[in-house]
């Protein structure tokens, strides 16, 4: 299952802006509430995090040291 952005329902005000910018269809609006669907096509563009004014969406990066 692909890792997806983290959604905090308590912070979401239902503005829907994240849904308008997402290019992979992972974010859907249901009854003034956002739901995240696990999709392989989410390229971690982080636009949903960028436009969310309440901090309800987070796209954290794991910081990894290269093996080589």
């Amino acid at each position: 299952m692909p890792v997806m952005p983290i959604f905090d329902q308590a912070k979401c005000d239902g503005c829907g802006l994240c849904v308008t910018v997402c290019r992979c269809g992972a974010l859907v609006m249901t009854e003034k509430m956002v739901a995240i669907i696990q999709v392989d096509s989410c390229g971690w563009c982080t636009d949903c995090e960028l436009v969310c004014a309440t901090g309800a969406l987070q796209c954290p990066f794991e910081i990894v040291m290269s093996e080589g």
Binding site: T20, C22, V51, P60, E62, I63
Partner: protein, 222 residues
């Protein structure tokens, strides 16, 4: 759908203005939908319209001669852009692009200015907004020219590269910005430049440190 006084009352420039004073204003406005990725304003264009986002989000950015992009601000519903051109030279100093499918309202300077002359509250709101934008731009200049943000981001990456008991450490761009004392937009640019120089690679939800030595140097830690 036609623009109503209620629609306009939600725009920041008209906040606190009595509805009867806004009579006649909807007729001076235009609206248009834009699709994701579409350019609304290009840097250097003669543009004398004041634009407002009604639905969706607009990205305001500048592009360097090498094609590097610096996001300046994200404009959300009710907020405006192109104020600098409208109240100044008429030339847009930045580009504006639809981040998703959006609806934009606009009014031409020649219609707006006479209205502002008769409505002090609107003029006062416009001044407050331009002043806020100027403050934001000054902070951005300060961050880009005086703070070594890339160095700070390099240090943050190094300091968080050791896995903890729960696995790899994780940071969002907002968290890195807060740690580096800057805006998320500036962190985004630093990460991109580190990637372009082969110091890190961005692999979906992972930042892979490829050249620890160079990153350490950039962080000023050696």
């Amino acid at each position: 759908m036609s623009i109503t006084i209620e629609n306009l009352a939600k725009l920041r420039h008209f906040a606190g203005v009595e509805n009867d004073r806004l009579a006649g204003l909807p007729q001076l406005f235009n609206q248009k939908p834009f699709v994701k990725g579409q350019t609304i304003v290009s840097e250097g264009d003669k543009q004398e319209n004041l634009y407002f986002v009604n639905a969706g989000v607009v990205k305001i950015f500048k592009t360097s001669s090498e094609g590097k992009e610096q996001i300046i601000i994200i404009v959300r519903p009710g907020e405006s852009f192109n104020d600098i051109a409208v109240f100044g030279s008429g030339y847009s100093p930045y580009s504006a692009q639809a981040l998703g499918n959006i609806v934009i309202y606009w009014i031409h300077k020649n219609d707006l200015l006479p209205f502002m002359e008769k409505n002090w509250k609107v003029a006062r709101n416009a001044l407050a907004i331009v002043s806020e934008q100027e403050r934001m731009l000054l902070t951005l200049i300060e961050d880009l020219s005086f703070k070594n943000v890339t160095g700070r981001v390099a240090k943050i990456l190094l300091q968080n590269s050791e896995p903890g008991p729960d696995g790899f450490q994780k940071l969002t761009q907002y968290e890195m910005a807060a740690m580096a004392g800057t805006a998320r937009e500036v962190v985004g640019r630093s990460l991109k430049s580190l990637e372009e120089n082969g110091v890190i690679s961005l692999e979906r939800h992972r930042i892979v440190i490829k050249n620890k030595e160079l990153l350490t140097q950039l962080a000023g830690l050696n």
